[in-house]
């Protein structure tokens, strides 16, 4: 199981890009933290989610 934004999900084995495709997250406006490291966008299709991984996906909103 992979913990994503506090929820345990059975997505181990998928790449991060494959997981994101099943969600409403828009890769253009997010930042992904995996096990306390930021995952670069260029690695979304290389990073394979593993059992025990902890992810936080932040979706930026406008205004500054």
């Amino acid at each position: 199981m992979v913990k994503i934004n506090g929820e345990f999900l059975p997505v181990d084995g998928k790449t991060l890009a494959e997981y994101l495709e099943t969600t409403s997250f828009d890769p253009v406006i997010i930042a992904v933290e995996r096990n306390e490291e930021i995952v670069p966008k260029s690695a979304y299709n290389k990073v394979i989610l593993k059992d025990g991984d902890i992810l936080e996906i932040v979706s930026f909103v406008g205004g500054g």
Binding site: I29, A31, E37, F60, V61, G62, G63
Partner: protein
């Protein structure tokens, strides 16, 4: 009359203590975007006695900025970098300022930011916020990044918070209130988020690890 550099430094040291003030005076902080977040972050950091600020924005001061950004009516039409540098120099005459009147892109980001110890993300658009985070952690991974997301509208001040996502990435804001959701940006709430970002910068410089 403007105090001498020595008087200025002595007064700051009396306030903050010698150890912290030395760290603050030796720090270089880059601010990407000089709107409601960036201009307010800059004022806080100038007042606290940061040694050097790198100010980056491509825009000009507009009448629509004045309800929340640290500019004056007479500065309408000036570049934000020039206008803010002028205002900061009046507040903190010994602050070192580096100005870049450009748009931050993936091509110029390393050149603009490699001398900074800490980078503040203070853009308007979510795409640009995300791009900056991505580029910093891909190309400048030794830097600290303090970002702002979610400060629009009239929601409670208490919903604005500071969250540590990694050892080098701090996120401030309520993470929800989008500028496109209705009411735009209100000065006091934008200043709250800017104050969270400025305070995170100061805490990083002070060596705090917990957020």
């Amino acid at each position: 009359m403007i105090p001498t550099r020595e008087e200025w430094q002595r007064t700051l040291t009396e306030r903050h203590g010698e150890e912290l003030q030395k760290k603050l005076s030796g720090a270089t902080v880059a601010i990407c975007g000089l709107g409601g977040l960036g201009s307010n972050i800059a004022v806080s950091l100038a007042r606290v006695g940061i040694g050097k600020l790198i100010l980056i924005d491509f825009d000009m001061v507009d009448i629509t900025n004045l309800h929340r950004q640290q500019y004056k009516a007479e500065q309408i039409g000036m570049s934000k970098t020039d206008a803010l540098a002028q205002n900061l120099s009046e507040i903190a005459p010994y602050l070192e300022i580096e100005q870049h009147n450009v748009k931050v892109t993936t091509d110029n980001i390393v050149g603009l930011l490699h001398n900074a110890d800490i980078i503040c993300e203070a853009f308007d658009r979510p795409e640009e916020k995300s791009m900056l985070v991505d580029c910093v952690f891909e190309m400048l991974s030794d830097k600290y990044l303090v970002s702002g997301s979610g400060m629009a509208g009239l929601g409670s001040a208490n919903l604005i918070k500071t969250r540590k996502l990694t050892s080098h990435f701090i996120l401030c804001g309520d993470e929800i209130s989008d500028i496109s959701d209705g009411m735009g940006l209100v000065c006091s709430r934008v200043m709250l988020c800017a104050a969270h970002q400025a305070h995170a910068v100061i805490r990083i410089i002070a060596g705090e690890k917990d957020f």
